[in-house]
C-alpha cells in the first residue's frame, strides 16, 4: 500500500493572477465585428454633421417635422394598443382554452409574418383607392404586427407555472382577479417586449405607408433622399434616437422579466378552459382576424392576376430572373450575418463578463436602425470613401447582413448554449484534439441554430423593400423592387405575381423555422434557459 498525505498550510490568499488566455482573440474579433455593425450609426452622424448645423436645424425644426413626430406617435399608440389586445387575446385562446383545431390556428395566426407589409398595404389600397391616412396605416400595420405580440405572449403563457394561478384561486381570488393580479404580471415582460418590437417595426416601415399616403420620418427620409441627401441624413437623427430610446426600454424590461421568472424546470401544462357556448363567437373572431390579415392580401393578389389580360402580366422569365436575384442576395446576406454572429455568440455564451456582455448588447443596436438609415449610410460610405463599391451588389448584401444581424445572433446564441464548453472538455479528455472536438461535437450541436438563423435572415431579407430600393444596383431587379415599380404605376396585375412569389419564398424558411422552434429532441438536456427570443422578430 502506498502512503498518502494531505497537508493544509495556513497560507494567506495570494493576489489573483489573470487567467492564462484561452480564446481571448475571440473578444478582439467580436469587437471588430461590433464596430463594423455600428459603423452606420457613426456614418449617419458624420453625414448629418457634414450637412451643417443650420441645415439640421432647418430640417428638424420645421413644422413638417413636428407633424411627422405626431404621426409616428399617434400611429404607434393605436397600433401597439390594438396589436397588444389582439395578440394577447389570441394567445389566451390558443394556449389556455380548448380551441377546436388548435394546432392549425397557431400556424394561421402567425402567417401574416410571411406577408410583407407593403403587399398588405397594396392589397387594401387596391380594393379602395380612398383607403389612406392614419386609420388605413393603423389597420394594415395592426394586422401585420400582432404576431410579434402573439408569439412571445403565447410562449410566456406556455411557460408560466399554472400552480401559481391555482394558489391564487385557493387564496380567495376570483377568475378575473387571478388574471389581473397573477397572470398579467407573468406575461407582462413578453407583452412589453413584443410591443417595443412593434414600435421598431413602425419606425422603419416605408412601403406600406407610402402606399396609403401616410407620412412618417422614414417616408420623408426616402423622399428627401432623392433630392437632398444631407437633409435625409439630418432626418435620420431623430429616427435613430427614437429607435435607441425604444431599445433601451426593451433591455430594461428584458432584464426585469428575466429576474422575475420562476425557476421551475418542468412546469406543468395549464389545464385548458372549456370554451363551451363561447366556442362559436371565438372561432368567428379568429376566422375574421385571419381572413383580414392573410385572406385579404392573398385573395387580392389572386384577383388581380386573374383579372389581368395575359399581355399585361410579366413574362415568366422576368419573374424567374427577379426571383433568382432575390434568392441570391438574401442568401448571401443571411450567410454573412450568420458567419458574423457565430464568434459573437460564442464569446458571449462561453464566459460572462461585463465587457463581453457590452460587446454583445451593442450589436443589438442595429435593430433600432431602420433599413433606410443603414442603406443611406452605406451610400454615403461608398460615395465618399470607396467609390468603386457604389452601385455594386456588395453593398446590398452588407446592408442585409447588418440589418438582420440581431435575428441571426438570437438563433446562433440559442444553439451555442446547446453546445456548452463542458462537452468540449469531455471530448478533449477522451483524447481528441481541439479541431476534432469542434467538428464532432460543437458543429453538429450548433448546426440547427445556424440553419435557423440563416432561414430567419433569408426570410426577412426577401420581404425587405427599403434598403433594397436604395441599394439595388441599376439594372438589377429583385422581386420587391419589381413589385414596387409596377405597383407605383398602379399596374396591380403586373405587380401581383412578384408579391405571390415573395410570399411563397418566405413561407418555406418560415416552415423550417417553425419546426426548429418546435423541436423537442435536445431541449430536455439543455441545462441553461434559452435567452429570451422576444427580440427575434423582423423590423423590416
Amino acid at each position: 500500500m502506498t502512503s498518502s498525505t494531505a497537508t493544509a498550510a495556513p497560507a494567506p490568499p495570494r493576489i489573483a493572477r489573470a487567467r492564462r488566455g484561452r480564446a481571448g482573440w475571440l473578444v478582439y474579433v467580436s469587437i471588430v465585428i461590433a464596430l463594423g455593425l455600428l459603423s452606420p450609426l457613426v456614418l449617419v452622424a458624420l453625414d448629418a454633421r457634414q450637412a451643417g448645423w443650420t441645415e439640421i436645424h432647418r430640417v428638424l425644426f420645421r413644422s413638417r417635422s413636428r407633424q411627422l413626430l405626431v404621426n409616428t406617435v399617434e400611429l404607434s399608440v393605436v397600433v401597439v394598443t390594438a396589436a397588444a389586445v389582439i395578440g394577447t387575446a389570441a394567445a389566451w385562446c390558443t394556449e389556455r382554452c380548448t380551441l377546436p383545431l388548435r394546432r392549425l390556428w397557431t400556424v394561421l395566426l402567425v402567417l401574416p409574418i410571411a406577408i410583407p407589409d407593403f403587399v398588405a398595404g397594396y392589397a387594401w389600397h387596391s380594393i379602395r383607392p380612398t383607403f389612406t391616412g392614419l386609420w388605413a396605416a393603423a389597420l394594415v400595420m395592426t394586422l401585420s404586427t400582432y404576431p410579434l405580440i402573439y408569439l412571445p405572449v403565447a410562449a410566456a403563457l406556455r411557460r408560466a407555472d399554472p400552480g401559481v394561478d391555482e394558489v391564487a384561486r385557493s387564496l380567495g381570488l376570483g377568475r378575473a382577479a387571478t388574471f389581473r393580479r397573477v397572470t398579467v404580471p407573468q406575461i407582462r415582460p413578453a407583452l412589453i417586449g413584443g410591443s417595443l418590437v412593434v414600435v421598431l417595426t413602425l419606425l422603419s416601415e416605408y412601403g406600406a405607408f407610402e402606399i396609403v399616403h401616410f407620412q412618417t420620418f422614414t417616408t420623408e427620409i426616402f423622399t428627401e433622399f432623392q433630392f437632398d441627401q444631407a437633409a435625409a441624413s439630418a432626418l435620420a437623427v431623430p429616427l435613430v434616437l427614437l429607435g435607441l430610446l425604444v431599445l433601451t426600454g426593451e433591455s430594461r424590461i428584458g432584464r426585469r422579466g428575466r429576474t422575475s421568472r420562476t425557476a421551475s424546470q418542468a412546469a406543468r401544462m395549464a389545464r385548458r378552459r372549456r370554451l363551451g357556448y363561447a366556442t362559436a363567437p371565438v372561432l368567428a373572431a379568429l376566422s375574421a382576424l385571419v381572413a383580414l390579415a392573410v385572406g385579404v392580401p392573398i385573395g387580392t393578389l389572386i384577383y388581380w392576376m386573374q383579372r389581368s389580360e395575359r399581355s399585361t402580366l410579366p413574362a415568366a422569365a422576368t419573374v424567374g430572373k427577379a426571383t433568382w436575384a432575390t434568392v441570391d442576395y438574401s442568401a448571401l446576406g443571411a450567410l454573412v450575418a450568420v458567419a458574423l454572429a457565430l464568434p459573437i455568440a460564442i464569446m458571449a455564451v462561453r464566459r460572462a463578463s461585463t465587457a463581453r456582455r457590452l460587446i454583445e448588447r451593442s450589436t443589438y443596436l442595429t435593430q433600432s436602425l431602420p433599413g433606410v438609415v443603414i442603406a443611406l449610410s452605406l451610400v454615403f460610405f461608398s460615395i465618399r470613401y470607396a467609390y468603386p463599391l457604389y452601385q455594386t451588389s456588395l453593398l446590398l448584401v452588407a446592408a442585409y447582413a447588418i440589418l438582420h444581424f440581431p435575428l441571426a445572433l438570437v438563433c446562433v446564441k440559442v444553439s451555442v448554449v446547446q453546445a456548452p464548453p463542458r462537452l468540449g472538455d469531455i471530448g478533449r479528455s477522451l483524447g481528441r484534439g481541439p479541431v476534432a472536438v469542434f467538428a464532432r461535437v460543437t458543429l453538429p450541436l450548433i448546426a440547427p441554430g445556424l440553419i435557423a438563423g440563416f432561414c430567419l435572415v433569408f426570410l426577412t431579407a426577401t420581404t425587405e423593400l427599403t434598403a433594397t430600393l436604395v441599394l439595388a444596383p441599376t439594372g438589377v431587379h429583385t422581386l420587391a423592387t419589381q413589385f414596387w415599380a409596377y405597383q407605383s404605376e398602379a399596374a396591380y396585375g403586373a405587380a401581383a405575381p412578384y408579391a405571390l412569389v415573395i410570399i411563397a419564398l418566405a413561407a418555406v424558411p418560415g416552415a423550417l423555422l417553425g419546426l426548429w422552434f418546435d423541436r423537442e429532441r435536445y431541449s430536455r438536456l439543455s441545462t441553461e434557459q434559452y435567452s429570451r427570443p422576444a427580440a427575434l422578430e423582423p423590423a423590416s
Binding site: 498518502s4 490568499p13 495570494r14 489573483a16 493572477r17 463578463s353 469531455i426 471530448g427 479528455s429 483524447g431
Partner: protein, 353 residues
C-alpha cells in the same frame, strides 16, 4: 507510486481565490473521495487535474510525469484521464454506443459494447441521451470515460442528481466497475455517507484546504481535529480537563484512547458511545430526554444534562427503545463507554498531525 500528486497549487477565478497553496497526494489503486461543502473548490480541483484549466501556481504530477507547472501544461487530450461530470454531460447528438466509442479508434469499437455490458446497459446502445434515465446517463458517462483505458477516473458528484434509492445501487455498481477495471479514481462529493461507504481514502476539503485525510474508519474514530470530527458524522464536542491520562467533563470521567497533555481540552463523544439506561450505574450522570428522531433501525435522542448541556445519543431500536420505552421528558441515566478522542486546547489545531 502515487496516481496524482499536487504541490502548492493555487487557482483563482476573476479575483476569487478557490484553491490556495493546496497539497494532495492520491495513492494508486484507491477510490479516493474528496468530501467538502459546495464552494470548497472540489470541482476546480478536478478540472485542474483533468487539464481543462491551468493552475496559477504549483505543480501537478500524474504518476511520474509533471503535467502542470510554471513551464508545462499537458493538454487534456494527452493526459489519459477519464472525467465523469455531475450530470453526465453526454453528447446529445450521439446515441449511447457512439458516446462510449467517442474516444476509441475505429478498430477498437467492439470495446464499446463490452463496456455497455459492464455498466449494465446491454441492449440500450442505440438510445439517445434524452431517452435514458438519469442513472443510465451516468452509467454511459462512466463507460465513456473508461473506454480510453484511463490512468485515472475523476467523478464530479456523480450521484447528486439521482434520487436516494437509486444512489445506493449506483454507488455499488460504480465501485464494482472501477474495481473490475482496476482504475484508480477520485470522486468528489458533499455526501458523507457516499464518501464513507465508497472510498478507501477520504480527504476532507474546507475552503480550499485539505482539513484531514485518511481511511473512512480512521477519520470517523480518530479525527485529527474538532473541525474534522464535526464534519464527518454526529459529534458531541465537550470541554474537559485532562489530568493523569483521563478527562473530566460533564459526563464525568471518560477514558482516552491516546495520551493528551494535561490541561483544558475538547473531548469527542460519538452518539453511539453514550449508553442510556433507566437505572443509575457507577459512572452515569442523570439527564432528561428531549427530542427523539426515530430512524427505524435506531434513534437519535437529545439528552439535557442537569447543568444544561445537550448531548446526542444513538439508541438502538431493539435494545434501548424497546426496553426503555423512551419518551420525551423522561429521566434517564447516561454513561460514556469506550475510548474517546481529545485535543488539548493549548495547542493550535494544525500543529497536531
Amino acid at each position: 507510486m502515487s496516481a496524482v500528486e499536487i504541490r502548492g497549487v493555487s487557482k483563482s477565478y476573476e479575483g476569487t481565490t478557490v484553491l490556495s497553496n493546496f497539497d494532495l497526494t492520491v495513492a494508486d489503486t484507491f477510490i479516493t473521495a474528496i468530501l467538502g461543502p459546495s464552494g470548497s473548490g472540489k470541482t476546480t480541483l478536478l478540472r485542474l487535474i483533468a487539464g481543462f484549466d491551468r493552475p496559477d501556481e504549483g505543480t501537478i504530477m500524474l504518476g511520474d510525469h509533471v503535467v502542470d507547472d510554471a513551464r508545462t501544461h499537458v493538454r487534456p487530450e494527452r493526459r489519459g484521464i477519464g472525467y465523469v461530470p455531475q450530470d453526465g454531460a453526454l453528447f446529445p447528438h450521439l446515441d449511447a454506443i457512439r458516446n462510449i466509442s467517442f474516444g476509441l479508434d475505429r478498430g477498437d469499437r467492439g470495446r464499446a459494447s463490452d463496456l455497455l455490458d459492464l455498466v449494465g446497459l446491454t441492449g440500450l446502445g442505440h438510445r439517445y441521451p434524452h431517452e435514458l434515465s438519469g442513472g443510465q446517463q451516468q452509467r454511459v458517462a462512466l463507460a465513456r470515460a473508461l473506454a480510453i483505458r484511463p490512468k485515472l477516473v475523476l467523478l464530479d458528484e456523480p450521484f447528486s442528481s439521482l434520487d436516494a434509492s437509486l444512489r445506493v445501487s449506483m454507488r455499488r455498481d460504480i465501485a464494482r466497475v472501477l474495481a473490475e477495471t482496476h482504475t484508480p479514481s477520485i470522486i468528489v462529493t458533499h455526501d458523507q455517507d457516499e464518501a464513507l461507504s465508497l472510498a478507501n481514502q477520504v480527504v476532507i476539503l474546507d475552503e480550499g484546504h485539505a482539513l484531514a485525510h485518511g481511511s473512512p474508519a480512521d477519520l470517523y474514530r480518530t479525527p485529527i481535529s474538532a473541525a474534522a470530527a464535526r464534519y464527518l458524522g454526529d459529534a458531541n464536542l465537550l470541554s474537559a480537563v485532562i489530568d493523569a491520562g483521563v478527562a473530566r467533563c460533564v459526563l464525568g470521567v471518560v477514558h482516552l484512547g491516546a495520551e493528551v497533555s494535561s490541561g483544558r481540552a475538547t473531548v469527542l463523544v460519538r452518539p453511539e458511545q453514550l449508553r442510556v439506561s433507566t437505572t443509575p450505574t457507577q459512572d452515569s450522570v442523570p439527564a432528561t430526554i428531549g427530542n427523539v428522531d426515530y430512524y427505524g433501525h435506531d434513534s437519535l435522542a437529545e439528552l439535557t444534562l442537569d447543568d444544561g448541556t445537550i448531548v446526542t445519543a444513538r439508541l438502538t431500536d431493539s435494545v434501548e427503545i424497546g426496553r426503555l420505552g423512551i419518551r420525551r421528558g423522561e429521566r434517564v441515566h447516561v454513561e460514556a463507554v469506550g475510548e474517546m478522542v481529545a485535543w488539548s486546547d493549548s495547542e493550535p489545531e494544525w500543529t497536531k498531525r
